[in-house]
């Protein structure tokens, strides 16, 4: 197995087994979707109207939950230094970790989203767009989140500062993602928003590994 795949599989195992963040993120996402109607009322029309935005915000927050452990666990037990010393470039190692995080949270949240959309009475056409937008957009959450995780990996309480750093940077994803769903609901074409979301996501996945690797390096030196 190539080192890239080995790291990806290892991180997936860590995320899905006991104490991993995947199940936690899914339950959090479902809980947010349950609490919102309790807070704003059970008017099905209103719920359908806000579903895209709420589910997008919920998905981003849920993905953030497990993000602070992305590098921190490996940093604490020393395996991050071994990963850095291995022949696999740190940029690719970061990409493997981003991919593992996305598969265990972003992709899982995307799969859960149609079910939650039913709770919000979202029409099926808009549900399909929500699913697509999460599928296209959540990689950006993992990728940009990885930069924040790498920057704060040596901090005891990095989980507290991470959302402050990451959430403003993720605002375009929320805007385009929820915008695509809203466009579909209003009878407009969602393709523009989806295309912009895809561009944002691609750029994030392409560039983030470099920033994340640089941040890991500066934390390992000295």
């Amino acid at each position: 197995m190539s080192p890239f795949l080995a790291l990806l599989v290892r991180d997936m195992k860590l995320a899905t087994r006991g104490g991993g963040g995947a199940a936690l993120a899914l339950s959090f996402f479902a809980l947010v979707a349950t609490l919102v109607p309790l807070g704003i009322g059970a008017d099905l029309k209103l719920l359908a109207r806000v579903a895209g935005g709420i589910l997008w915000v919920g998905a981003v927050l849920a993905a953030l939950l497990s993000l602070d452990r992305l590098f921190q666990g490996d940093y604490d037990d020393g395996s991050l230094e071994l990963i850095a010393l291995s022949p696999l470039p740190l940029e690719l190692a970061s990409l493997a970790k981003i991919a593992a995080h996305w598969l265990s949270t972003g992709a899982a949240l995307t799969l859960l989203s149609p079910l939650l959309a039913v709770l919000f009475n979202l029409p099926s056409g808009a549900t399909a767009i929500l699913f697509l937008s999460l599928l296209v957009g959540t990689p950006a959450v993992s990728a940009i989140g990885a930069i924040g995780a790498a920057l704060t990996l040596s901090l005891r309480r990095g989980g507290l500062i991470l959302p402050l750093i990451i959430l403003p940077l993720l605002s375009p994803a929320v805007i385009f993602g929820a915008g695509a769903v809203a466009a579909k609901l209003d009878g407009f074409s969602p393709h523009g928003a989806l295309g912009l979301l895809g561009a944002f996501s691609l750029a994030a996945v392409l560039l983030s590994p470099f920033a994340a690797a640089a941040s890991v390096r500066l934390n390992l030196s000295g």
Binding site: T152, P168, I175, L218
Partner: protein, 236 residues
């Protein structure tokens, strides 16, 4: 790059900035006085009445809010790529000013919005992107404060500042795409009457000078602070 590093020497920087500081500070006072005088003697706008005077406080704050982030980004690049030691200090020193300018822009904008738009807050594109910019400043300062090791903190903050600098145009674009109500730019396009334009330009100059004065003072304080700490550690 050679000339940049000549000024990276803290001792030389202290000498130069100490010599320049009194002049910049007095220029700031003059520009502020002239700008405020011109501004408050400007005639009321035929539509906006006296509230147009907020313009002279609001617009320069907004311009500075972005310029300071630009300054931080340039300092961060210098620090990451060329390991320019003073630029870390400069970047850290600039951040709180940027946050204050952003907050000032938001507060004055909201006070202006009440008579003009009928509400303190609208989710208008520029207001929203400035709110996000404020959070970017908070995150940047929080990261600086959270990491104890100063070299590590400097490099981490520099990476974050550059990631933010790449992202800001995208955020700006996405928020514009999302909603826009704010009036467009009216300085370069010549839509501003000279009675308003001149006080505004003076105030922009005054804000810029004020920032430079305070920035220099803060960098100097940081350098002196470091020297004192080093001396204390040596004597201990």
């Amino acid at each position: 790059m050679q000339f940049l590093f000549r000024y990276a020497n803290p001792a030389l920087f202290m000498r130069l900035s100490g010599a320049v500081l009194p002049y910049v500070a007095s220029l700031t006072v003059v520009a502020l006085a002239v700008g405020l005088l011109l501004g408050f003697t400007a005639p009321p706008d035929y539509q906006q009445g006296l509230t147009v005077l907020i313009l002279f406080i609001h617009v320069p704050a907004a311009t500075m809010a972005m310029s300071v982030y630009g300054a931080i980004a340039v300092c961060s690049l210098l620090s990451l790529v060329w390991r320019h030691p003073l630029s870390d200090t400069a970047a850290r020193a600039a951040a709180p000013f940027g946050a204050v300018f952003t907050a000032l822009g938001l507060v004055t904008g909201s006070l202006w919005g009440k008579p003009m738009w009928g509400t303190y807050w609208v989710w208008d594109a520029r207001l929203t992107s400035f709110l996000l910019l404020l959070f970017l400043y908070f995150g940047y300062m929080a990261l600086w404060n959270a990491i104890e090791d100063e070299t590590k903190a400097a490099r981490a903050a520099a990476v974050l500042a550059l990631v933010g600098a790449v992202n800001i145009p995208i955020i700006k674009f996405s928020v514009d795409w999302w909603n826009t109500l704010h009036q467009g730019e009216s300085i370069v396009s010549g839509n501003l009457a000279p009675v308003f334009l001149w006080p505004l330009l003076t105030m922009m100059l005054a804000y810029m000078l004020l920032f430079i004065t305070l920035w220099l003072i803060r960098i100097r304080t940081a350098i002196v602070n470091r020297r004192v700490t080093a001396l204390l550690q040596r004597s201990a």
